[in-house]
């Protein structure tokens, strides 16, 4: 039986009684004995968790699992909301045909966040519940207590327990085989933190504000200083950009023309009839196969295209009095304006359809001076649409020269033509 008192200069008060045991059995029995004696403010210390101690000390279950469960739910909700909002609402973009909010693809990140939230909660909650970190503990003043983390077992009864009776307790401990009993003295005055620590804390706190302030300033202001190029050879690459100059080629351009005779994919227009309206070096007199069938759909297409491209000059009915032409003729400042032909003029009526097509395609140079009086439309109107326009032009022409036989049988009677009857 050894007695120790801790000697210090500080004014101290008795805070508890600490008994030391050599094995866990002694500790368990002592803990039970203390509990049976009605003492509650007790704690045991051991180098490893001693089973049965929960029962002996009457330790209640910890709320830790519930905290972790809650954190897991929070992680789940946060993860799903984050993925839904970022990928489906705020910045929606399609990846490999998946729905914007695709649950199977969101499960991995959701799972990881559940685990992350739960694990951090478990870790920090156990520290918080255990009151750690706590660097000041009166027990650390006891030389013998250092073995609590190696091979000795301790029980502490706090003096604040209403049933605390140092003498009786000492006897109780000894009866259970304690190898030493010590008084634990605590300094009642609050621990004073040195000024240096305070100062360091304040300085670190101030310094910690600098980076976020710096970032905030840089992001809210503009600057004419060129940005930093950490890897210049990625930002300034030795390569030729389009529309730039170079001394490499005689014409000084970086962009090269394609080799003469190059034809782009799908643009090998070798069908003279369809593309130019020419058959065997003469203007075609029939529609090409690609324009077939000549039906209502084709006619409607032709009418629509005609009204868009042709009617501004030639007029909706083809009389050569389109709105552009009328305006040009009305103005004095356009003396070179050549009024468009009426599509019902004799020359046009006699044209083979291949010539009509050719004219739409290549335009007309009526004065033969290199200036097109009617521009070429091959670039704007695809070949099949040009044939549709030709078809519509034929219909317009026929509308002025129609005969009764052109009407189907049943419709002829419906025409009331009194003046012809006279």
């Amino acid at each position: 039986m050894i007695e120790h008192e801790v000697q210090t200069d500080q004014p101290q008060v008795l805070s508890g009684l600490l008994a030391e045991f050599t094995d866990q059995q002694g500790l368990l029995e002592a803990a039970q004995g203390v509990r049976e004696a009605g003492l509650r403010r007790t704690d045991c210390f051991s180098p490893y968790p001693v089973h049965g101690m929960e029962r002996a000390l009457g330790i209640r279950n910890t709320p830790l699992p519930w905290l972790v469960l809650f954190a897991g739910f929070a992680g789940c909700v946060v993860a799903l909301l984050m993925q839904w909002w970022t990928n489906a609402v705020d910045y929606p973009f399609l990846i490999s045909g998946k729905p914007l909010f695709s649950l199977p693809a969101n499960i991995p990140v959701t799972f990881e966040l559940i685990v992350l939230f739960s694990a951090f909660t478990a870790f920090f909650a156990v520290l918080a519940l255990n009151g750690l970190p706590r660097f000041h503990n009166p027990l650390f003043q006891h030389e013998r207590f250092r073995r609590a983390s190696s091979d000795r077992f301790f029980i502490l009864v706090e003096a604040s327990d209403p049933q605390f009776d140092a003498i009786r307790l000492r006897e109780l401990f000894q009866s259970h085989g304690a190898v030493s009993v010590e008084q634990v003295m605590a300094d009642p005055t609050p621990a004073r933190i040195p000024l240096a620590v305070h100062l360091t804390g304040v300085i670190v706190l101030c310094l910690a504000f600098i980076p976020p302030l710096w970032i905030a300033r840089d992001r809210s202001t503009t600057s004419d200083v060129p940005r930093i190029h950490p890897v210049p050879d990625m930002d300034f690459q030795p390569k030729f950009k389009p529309q730039a100059e170079t001394s490499l080629f005689a014409d000084g351009r970086t962009m090269r023309l394609p080799v003469a005779g190059t034809i782009a994919r799908g643009e090998l227009n070798d069908d003279e009839h369809f593309v130019r309206g020419i058959v065997a070096n003469a203007f075609a007199t029939t529609f090409p196969a690609q324009a077939m069938p000549l039906d209502q759909v084709m006619m409607a297409r032709g009418r629509e295209r005609f009204n868009i491209y042709c009617a501004t000059c030639h007029g909706l009915a083809g009389d050569g009095n389109g709105i552009t032409s009328q305006r040009a003729l009305a103005r004095a400042d356009s003396p070179n304006w050549r009024p468009p032909l009426s599509l019902h003029s004799q020359g046009v009526l006699e044209m083979p359809i291949g010539k009509l097509f050719f004219t739409i395609t290549n335009g007309v140079d009526r004065q033969n001076d290199g200036n097109l009086s009617m521009p070429a439309y091959d670039v704007q109107i695809p070949p099949r649409d040009r044939w549709a326009i030709v078809l519509y032009v034929l219909a317009l022409q026929r509308s002025r020269n129609a005969e009764l036989n052109d009407l189907p049988e049943g419709a002829r009677e419906s025409l009331a033509l009194p003046d012809i009857a006279q």
């Binding site: 089973h51 490999s96 045909g97 998946k98 199977p104 693809a105 499960i107």
Partner: protein
Amino acid sequence: MLKHDIPQLGDDDNLTLSRIPPRLISGAAAAGGIILLIALLLGWAAKDSFTYFFHAYLVSFSFYLSISLGALFLVTLHHASRAGWSVCVRRVSEIVAANVLLMAILFLPILLVAIFGGKTLYVWTNLAAIEDEHVRHILEGKSAYLNLWFFTLRAVIYFAVWGGLIWFFWKRSLEQDKSGDVTLSLKMEKVSYPALILFALTITFAAFDWIMSLTPVWFSTIFGVYFFSGAVVGGLSTIILVLIALQGRGRLTTAVTPDHYHELGKLLFAFIIFWGYMAFSQYMLIWYANMPEETVWYLPRQRHGWLAVSLILLFGHLLIPFFGLMSRQVKRRKALLGFWAVWMLVVHWLDVQYLVMPHVNETGFPLGPMDICCLAGVGLIFLAGLLFFAGHRPLVPTKDPRLGESLGFENL
């Protein structure tokens, strides 16, 4: 962790089901047979050349087979891991596993219909009848594996392996009850290691042969593991229910404690998650890659009533029991654990249904009289098998060297 006072095994009355009248066993088997006959008649009345009936039968067969295989795995794992706690529940596992012998007989209808039934069950048995030329071409390429001779041979091998294993363990285990010979434990342990390898291979290819080849153009490498995970869930649930039933009849009252239930519950919990992991791995990869040759299997399972079944499996086979079995108290209480065991058996059956039935009924989830009759018929025969194997024998390995460890087992 050992308790300080180890409970004792009860007397013989507590340890055996000595008074099972043989009539009960044969009666259960006969009733099962009659119900199966009713199902067959219903199948005849359906006038679909028994297609539906045989699929329903395949579901029931696979369901009960998976239970026995799950139990067989647990027995083998017990030996391989030198487990101590599970000694008290090992004999019950052996009884459930022994039914695999019965399943060999119940397999015969499937084998016969595969051989003689044309394309009633397995399309690949009759290549000439396949209209789609592309499918036929693929199946012709597979015919070195998917042909009747090899199919039959493999089935023989599977049942020989399973039957041989359970026969080996069963015999040594009963022998030890009499002699108490410690070396028998060592022998069983030695065999258990190659047994696990054989088990892994056979259950994988059995799942490929009997279930995956229903959609013969489809393939998934994880399918064997998926079937295995469900099988262990089924096996564990059945073992739990058998233990509860035995204790309800006053048997094993001291041998099996809440700690054993707790441990079984933890394993069940783990394998439920494992099943979810397998199901998710398979679904996720096929969903993401979105290749027609693979999605062909999932498409019918996401239409009509099968979509509901898929969702029921997601919630009922994974999420709900995950939360249900999380608590320690649930796993330690017989009534609650029993509830979850029944629940898991139901969803496990639904899982097998989900694997097989969309092949024959694409329009929705069918729960016709034929399904019920097959489930009940095979179930009664299975029950008869359980009673047969359980009777007149100790329900725990009474002289296992680790019995004391298991009796004193405490689940902290």
